[in-house]
C-alpha cells in the first residue's frame, strides 16, 4: 500500500508536476499585469490585442512577441526607440504615458505586402479630454485642398532642375519665395510660373528658372532633418515606392496586380516620384495631405498618427529630391 502511494506520488510529481508547474507559472505571469502583445503578419491578424487601455501616468508592462516573421514595435509621434521582435522571442518593455489620448503603435519592418496594416492603439485614459490623431488639422484640410484631384504639371523642365546651377546664377530670391507659407502652398510648377513672371528672370531661359525652383526647394528642405527624412523614406516608403522613388519597391508588384482589377477603390500601383509631371504639379501641402491621410483604400497607408508634423514635412521635402538635383554632376 505504501509503495502504491509512493508510485502515485512519483507519477504526480513527474508526469503532472512539469505541466502543472508550467501552467502555474504562466498563470502567475498573466496575473502580474503584463499585457502580452502578439505580432502576426496582417493576413494572420496583425497585432493581438490591437487596442490596449491604460490610465495616464501608470506603467504599462508589455510582453511583445512575434508569432511568425520579424516585426518591430514602434509608437507613433513618439521618441521611444523601435523594438525589434524576432519570431518566438518575447521582449518585455514598460511604457508610461502622461498625457491622455490615443497613441498608435505599429510595425516598422517590411513583414509582408500588408505590412502597413499592422497598427494598433493604446488608449490612455485620464481626466483631460481624449484627443485623437494630431492636435491640429492638417494643412490640406484647413486649405480645403482636394488631394485626390488631378495635379499634373503642364510645364516641364528639359532636364532635372539643379540646386547647384540655380545657385550659380547668383541671384537673390525675393523674400516671398523664402517664406514657409508660400513654399507649402505652391507646387514647383506654380513657383516656376511666379518666377517666370518676375523681372529679374527675363534674361533667364526656362531651364534656368527651373533651377531657381530647385533653389527654393533646397532652401526649405535644408531647414529640416535630412538624415531623418532619408531614414523615414527608407523605412516606410521604399518598400512600395522603391529606393529610387520609381514606384518599383519590393511590394509594388502586389499592389500593381491588384490595381489591374480595375476597381478604383482597390489597391493602386505605387506613385512614381520620378515622374516630373506628377511631382512638379503637386504642392507640399498636397503631398503632406497624402502622407497624413493616406490613399483611402488604394494601399497607401495613412501616416497621420505615426509621424510628427516635422517628420511629415521632412518627408515631403525628401520626395521632391527625386525631381531636383542637389549636387553638381
Amino acid at each position: 500500500m505504501r509503495s502504491s502511494r509512493l508510485a502515485l506520488g512519483l507519477l504526480f510529481i513527474l508526469a503532472l508536476g512539469l505541466p502543472l508547474f508550467a501552467a502555474s507559472w504562466r498563470w502567475w505571469d498573466l496575473r502580474s499585469g503584463v499585457v502580452e502583445v502578439h505580432a502576426r503578419m496582417p493576413d494572420a491578424g496583425g497585432w493581438s490585442p490591437a487596442s490596449i487601455r491604460v490610465p495616464a501616468g501608470e506603467a504599462l508592462r508589455l510582453m511583445l512577441t512575434s508569432d511568425d516573421v520579424m516585426h518591430s514595435f514602434a509608437i507613433g509621434q513618439s521618441a521611444s526607440p523601435v523594438i525589434d521582435l524576432y519570431p518566438g522571442k518575447p521582449v518585455e518593455t514598460t511604457l508610461q504615458f502622461d498625457e491622455p489620448g490615443k497613441y498608435t503603435f505599429y510595425c516598422t519592418r517590411w513583414c509582408g505586402p500588408d505590412h502597413w496594416r499592422m497598427r494598433g492603439t493604446i488608449e490612455v485614459t485620464g481626466d483631460a479630454n481624449i484627443q485623437t490623431g494630431a492636435a491640429e488639422q492638417p494643412l490640406y484640410l484647413t486649405l480645403g485642398l482636394d488631394i485626390d484631384a488631378h495635379h499634373e504639371a503642364s510645364t516641364l523642365p528639359q532636364q532635372r532642375p539643379s540646386v547647384v546651377r540655380g545657385a550659380a546664377l547668383g541671384l537673390v530670391l525675393p523674400d516671398k519665395y523664402l517664406a514657409l507659407d508660400y513654399y507649402r502652398l505652391h507646387s514647383p510648377e506654380q513657383v516656376w510660373n511666379d518666377l517666370r513672371g518676375e523681372l529679374f528672370s527675363k534674361e533667364l531661359d526656362d531651364q534656368q528658372v527651373w533651377d531657381l525652383v530647385a533653389l527654393v526647394w533646397q532652401f526649405h528642405a535644408s531647414s529640416g532633418d535630412a538624415e531623418s527624412s532619408q531614414q523615414l523614406y527608407a523605412r516606410d516608403c521604399a518598400a512600395c515606392h522603391g529606393e529610387a522613388g520609381a514606384g518599383d519597391g519590393v511590394f509594388a508588384h502586389v499592389l500593381g496586380a491588384a490595381s489591374e482589377t480595375g476597381d478604383m477603390h482597390a489597391r493602386q500601383t505605387p506613385a512614381d516620384f520620378t515622374g516630373a509631371a506628377h511631382m512638379l504639379g503637386a504642392s507640399p501641402a498636397l503631398l503632406h495631405g497624402k502622407i497624413v491621410r493616406g490613399g483611402m483604400g488604394t494601399g497607401m497607408p495613412y501616416w497621420g498618427p505615426i509621424y510628427t508634423d516635422d517628420q511629415a514635412w521632412a518627408l515631403v521635402s525628401r520626395l521632391y529630391e527625386f525631381q531636383f538635383e542637389v549636387e553638381d554632376k
Binding site: 509503495s3 502504491s4 508510485a7 502515485l8 512519483l10 507519477l11 510529481i13 513527474l14 508526469a15 503532472l16 508536476g17 512539469l18 505541466p19 508550467a22 501552467a23 507559472w25 504562466r26 505571469d29 510582453m63 512577441t65 512575434s66 508569432d67 511568425d68 519570431p87 518566438g88 522571442k89 518575447p90 521582449v91 518585455e92
Partner: protein, 464 residues
C-alpha cells in the same frame, strides 16, 4: 552466434525487474510529453521556439533514429509515454498486478492482427508531416490524439493493442529493431515447452502477461517485443535473458517474414527519400505542395507520395526480385506462393538500407537544428522565460562540414549491410529450392543493384 547476456549481471537484472526505475522514466517521459502538448496548444506558434516541435521532432526523433533504434531496438517503447495512461487504467495499478483494472478487455480482431493499419497511420502522418513537424498547435493535437487513441484502445482491447497494431512510429521502431544488437529471448526453449502455466503470456502475481501479445518462448525477432520486461518478472524459471548480439541478427532468421512488414520497409524507404526531397531539396514548389495540407495541389502531392511508396518502389523491387529468381533458375519461385515468398523475403534487405537512409536524413537536420534545443528548454512554451539562462542562445549549425562525410559513411555502410543481407536471404531461398549456392549470388545480384541505385539516389538527395 555470439550473445552476451546482460541479465547475467545481478545489478542489471534487478534493475530490469524492479518497476521503480521503469516507473520513474515513464512518469518523466509522460511529464515531458504532456508539457509538449501544453506548449503546442498554449505556447508560441513559432516552431523553433516551442518544445512541441523542438523537443519532439528534433531532439526525440534525433535520438530515436540515430541512437535508440539502431542500438536498443524497441528500447524506447519501454518508456514511451503514449500508452502509459491507458495501460495504467487497464491494469488498475502502477506497480504490478494489484488492483482491478478498467476496460472491456476484448481481443484484437484476427483479420487485423498485422501492421497494415500501422502502415496506413504512418502514411497519413507522413503525408501531413510538413505541417505536423513545423506547427506546434497541429503537432500538439496530433500528440494528444495519439494519447487519446491509445487510452481508448487500452479500454476496449486487451493489452497494448495501440502499440502493436496502431502506433505509426511503432512500425518504424519494430521493423528496424531487427537490426539492433539488443534482444530479449528465452535462455532454453525446452524449459518453456514444459512450463504448463506459461505465466510469461498469462501473467502471475509478479507481473502481467506479455502486454505485446507475444509468447516469449517463441520469440525469434525483435519486431513485436516491446522490451517491457514483464516476462522477466513473471517467468518462475528465470529463463529469460536480455542479450547483446551482433547487429541485424534477426534479418538472418528465415521465419516470420511477412508482406505487411515488407511493405513497411518500402514505405519507410520511400518516405525517407521523399522527405529528403521535400525538406532538404531545392524544389520550392514541392515544399509548397507538401505544406498545403488539404488543398487540391496537396492531394496531387499525396497521390505522388502514395504512388512512390506503395507502387513504384515495391513494383521495382518485385521486378528485381523476380529477375533474381530467373537468373538463379529458381522455378519454384513462380509456383504457388513462391512469388510472394521470394518478394517478401528479399524485401527484408531494405531494413538496413532504410534504417541507414533515415539515419543519414536525420543527420542532415539534427546538427543543423540542434541549437534550438537549449533555448527552448529554457523557455519551453515561448513565454519569455529563461529557466536555465540559455533562452538567448542563437541558432548555430553544428558540424556542417563533417555531416556530409558522416552521411556518406552511413549510406555506404547501409549499402554493404543490405547487400550482405540480400546474399544471406538469397542463400536461404536457394537452399530451400535446392539450388547451388552459386545461384544465390545470381539471385541477390539484381537486389544489390536495386540497393545501389537507391543509395545513389540518396546521395543525390541528401548530399549532392
Amino acid at each position: 552466434m555470439n550473445r552476451a547476456a546482460l541479465t547475467n549481471t545481478p545489478v542489471v537484472k534487478s534493475l530490469l525487474r524492479s518497476r521503480w526505475p521503469q516507473l520513474f522514466l515513464r512518469a518523466l517521459t509522460l511529464g515531458v510529453f504532456l508539457l509538449a502538448i501544453l506548449a503546442g496548444i498554449l505556447g508560441t506558434p513559432v516552431g523553433n521556439r516551442n518544445i512541441a516541435i523542438v523537443l519532439v521532432w528534433i531532439a526525440w526523433w534525433g535520438l530515436l533514429a540515430l541512437l535508440a533504434v539502431p542500438l536498443f531496438g524497441r528500447g524506447w517503447c519501454n518508456i514511451c509515454p503514449i500508452p502509459m495512461p491507458g495501460e495504467w487504467l487497464q491494469q488498475g495499478s502502477l506497480l504490478g498486478p494489484r488492483g482491478k483494472g478498467l476496460g472491456l478487455g476484448k481481443r484484437w480482431p484476427n483479420p487485423l492482427r498485422n501492421i497494415w493499419i500501422q502502415n496506413g497511420a504512418f502514411l497519413l502522418l507522413a503525408l501531413c508531416s510538413a505541417v505536423v513537424l513545423t506547427e506546434p498547435k497541429v503537432s500538439a493535437w496530433v500528440l494528444a490524439g495519439f494519447l487519446l487513441v491509445a487510452i481508448g484502445a487500452s479500454l476496449v482491447f486487451e493489452r497494448r493493442a495501440f502499440c502493436r497494431y496502431l502506433c505509426p512510429v511503432g512500425g518504424y521502431i519494430g521493423l528496424y529493431s531487427q537490426a539492433s544488437p539488443l534482444e530479449l529471448r528465452v535462455v532454453d526453449a525446452s524449459v518453456c515447452a514444459s512450463h504448463t502455466e506459461k505465466t510469461c503470456y498469462t501473467g502471475s502475481s509478479q507481473g502481467y502477461g506479455c502486454p505485446w501479445q507475444v509468447f516469449p518462448g517463441g520469440l525469434v525477432k525483435n519486431t513485436n517485443c516491446g522490451l517491457c520486461m514483464e516476462c522477466l518478472r513473471t517467468c518462475p524459471h528465470d529463463n529469460l535473458s536480455l542479450n547483446v548480439r551482433s547487429f541485424g541478427a534477426d534479418l538472418d532468421v528465415p521465419t516470420g517474414r511477412k508482406l505487411d512488414e515488407a511493405y513497411k520497409a518500402f514505405i519507410l524507404l520511400g518516405s525517407a527519400m521523399i522527405y529528403a526531397a521535400v525538406m532538404l531539396g531545392p524544389w520550392g514548389q514541392l515544399k509548397a505542395l507538401a505544406y498545403g495540407v488539404g488543398t487540391l495541389p496537396w492531394l496531387g502531392y499525396a497521390l505522388g507520395f502514395l504512388l512512390v511508396t506503395l507502387v513504384i518502389i515495391p513494383g521495382s523491387f518485385w521486378l528485381v526480385s523476380m529477375l533474381g529468381q530467373v537468373l538463379a533458375g529458381n522455378k519454384d519461385a513462380f509456383k504457388g506462393r513462391g512469388v510472394k515468398k521470394a518478394f517478401t523475403s528479399l524485401a527484408y534487405t531494405l531494413v538496413p538500407l532504410g534504417m541507414t537512409a533515415w539515419i543519414a536524413f536525420t543527420l542532415s537536420f539534427i546538427f543543423a537544428n540542434g541549437s534550438y534545443i537549449l533555448p527552448s528548454l529554457s523557455d519551453p512554451l515561448g513565454f519569455g522565460w529563461n529557466l536555465f539562462g540559455t533562452a538567448g542562445m542563437g541558432w548555430t549549425p553544428y558540424l556542417s562540414g563533417i555531416v556530409p562525410f558522416m552521411q556518406v559513411i552511413v549510406l555506404l555502410v547501409g549499402l554493404a549491410w543490405a547487400s550482405r543481407t540480400a546474399l544471406k536471404i538469397a542463400r536461404q531461398l536457394a537452399s530451400q529450392a535446392r539450388l547451388p549456392q552459386e545461384a544465390a549470388r545470381r539471385m541477390a545480384l539484381p537486389v544489390v543493384a536495386f540497393c545501389l541505385a537507391i543509395t545513389i539516389l540518396l546521395f543525390q538527395l541528401l548530399i549532392a
